[in-house]
């Protein structure tokens, strides 16, 4: 599944059509939701699908569909230094893998997966209520801003 995710991300970055990259990104986010589910985080997996795929990617696709790019672009997606870039990315990846193995050696999840909704609810309204309220305020500001920018110019003033 992780290999599928890496493959899809490569398609996102190298595809010549903007729309195809967006579809590959959607599929990649779906695979991430699957990874969440495999790790036992059921609520987060469903939330990932609902919000990322069902909300954010749709808006992104709207924006792509309404911008006037030709359907299959012929631009080259890489510049002349792509080999050095690829080597650098590979080096970073190896470094990260070595570090993760060193820190998490032998710690595989052996706990029985339990439904997480109750604990998330308790956390949100218990220990984490301040970040929860702060995030709601940020969302409210974003909503008001979106409505304001969506109004006609004369209506705004």
């Amino acid at each position: 599944m992780a290999a599928l995710l890496i493959g899809l991300s490569l398609v996102v970055v190298t595809s010549r059509s903007v729309f195809r990259s967006a579809i590959a990104l959607t599929a990649a986010l779906g695979v991430v939701a699957g990874l969440f589910a495999l790790l036992g985080a059921d609520f987060v997996a469903a939330g990932q699908l609902l919000i990322y795929v069902g909300g954010i990617m749709i808006i992104m696709l709207f924006a792509i569909m309404f911008s006037h790019r030709p359907a299959v672009g012929l631009d080259r997606q890489t510049n002349d230094q792509w080999l050095w870039g690829a080597l650098f990315a590979l080096a970073v990846a190896c470094g990260l893998i070595v570090q993760f193995r060193a820190v998490y050696r032998g710690v595989f999840s052996t706990t029985v997966s339990m439904p997480t909704t109750i604990s998330i609810g308790r956390l949100l309204l218990g220990d984490m209520v301040v970040p929860f309220e702060a995030i709601s305020l940020v969302l409210l500001a974003a909503l008001v801003g979106a409505v304001y920018f969506g109004m006609d110019y004369e209506e705004r003033l």
Partner: protein
């Protein structure tokens, strides 16, 4: 007596012990049992839309004082089968100016989530394919994936009008998801679980010995929640009066104009399967799932569930031929300026009710 749940689990036990006795490891036996259950669900999902298409044609015909399909088979029962076979043999046309891969993938992205949506539905006692703890959220999340398919269909047709149809369709789908999810929140507040089977179980019993404890009978919140959920589901499944995306008399066929043959059949199948899923959810959440007097075991619980679901499906079909189509801006207005505020008010009232009753 006719309860399928215990019979089926017994059958699976026997099958598994037989298979293990022949040398297959227990994990293999478990996978085999799950594969058979998946096969049954796939079969269900393929057959139910056929029944629904026939039902729609007959119901609409009787409402319009005509007979509907009568030629193919007795009373036209095999009509949908004939239509399906015809669609399979049609030529598969891919427009030149379109993106081939997107055009081919779009119907699959629309149809695949429906099969998954049938899993958490409580078909009866012991007949829940998978009793997910996040059943409600899961169905909503997976339905959202179909919206991407609608956008892909609009884009992949290589046709400006189809693209506009796809965008309008996706906008409608995304908008009506909000009141739909919010209208279900009072149910979750009362029953404390997102498992559809758990919610259906919690609605057993009677008040004063007569009125069933279904959520729709709760004083004000039940009715408002049910109505908002029903209206939003009709809009989510692109049925009249909300079928601007596929209006036959307006946009030719909107986002699925350029799809012929099997691809069109897949879109059709997805729409009717979603009608069934929405009705089943309404039944499980608001109408008590498989609750009902069992007459000493003669009327099994799954018969109650199927009966109630088809009653709601009849409502869906009835709406189509009763209400005129909403214009697209009034459709959005209706969602954001009427349904959404009322669903939020409903959540407030439900909070009050939970406070007072517990």
């Amino acid at each position: 007596m006719f309860e399928l749940g215990p019979i089926l689990s017994h059958v699976f036990q026997v099958l598994q012990t037989w298979v293990i006795g022949h040398g297959v490891p227990p994990l293999g036996a478990w996978i085999l049992a799950k594969a058979i259950q998946v096969g049954v669900i796939v079969l269900l999902v393929s057959l139910i839309p056929m029944v629904l298409v026939y039902a729609e044609r007959k119901v609409s015909a009787f409402m319009q004082a005509r007979l509907g399909p009568m030629n193919v088979g007795p009373y036209g029962i095999l009509q949908t089968l004939a239509d399906g076979i015809k669609l399979i043999f049609k030529e598969d046309i891919i427009p030149i100016g379109s993106d081939r891969i997107v055009h081919i993938l779009a119907p699959m992205v629309v149809v695949a989530p429906v099969f998954i949506c049938f899993a958490p539905l409580p078909f009866g006692k012991g007949l829940v394919p998978i009793d997910l703890d996040i059943g409600v959220l899961f169905i909503f999340a997976v339905s959202g994936v179909s919206t991407i398919g609608v956008l892909m269909a609009g884009w992949g047709s290589g046709n400006k009008f189809s693209m506009l149809g796809g965008v309008r369709g996706a906008a409608q789908l995304v908008s009506y998801e909000v009141p739909r999810v919010l209208s279900v929140v009072p149910v979750l507040m009362f029953y404390g679980t997102q498992s559809l089977h758990g919610i259906a179980m919690a609605q057993q019993g009677r008040w004063f010995g007569v009125i069933p404890k279904w959520f729709i009978f709760y004083p004000v919140i039940g009715q408002i929640a049910f109505l908002i959920f029903l209206i939003a589901s009709v809009a989510e499944t692109n049925r009249t009066p909300f079928d601007i995306p596929e209006a036959e008399s307006e946009l030719v066929a909107g986002f699925h104009t350029e799809f012929s043959g099997l691809k069109f059949a897949l879109f059709f199948l997805a729409e009717y399967a979603y009608v069934f899923v929405s009705s089943a959810m309404a039944v499980a959440l608001f109408l008590g799932g498989d609750d009902g007097f069992s007459a000493g075991g003669i009327i099994p619980s799954w018969l109650w569930f199927i009966g109630k679901t088809f009653a709601i499906v009849f409502l869906f079909l009835w709406f189509r031929w009763t209400f005129p189509r909403l214009r697209v801006d009034r459709l959005m207005q209706f969602c954001w300026q009427f349904l959404l505020p009322w669903s939020i008010v409903n959540i407030g009232l439900a909070g009050l009710a939970v406070l007072l009753l517990k």
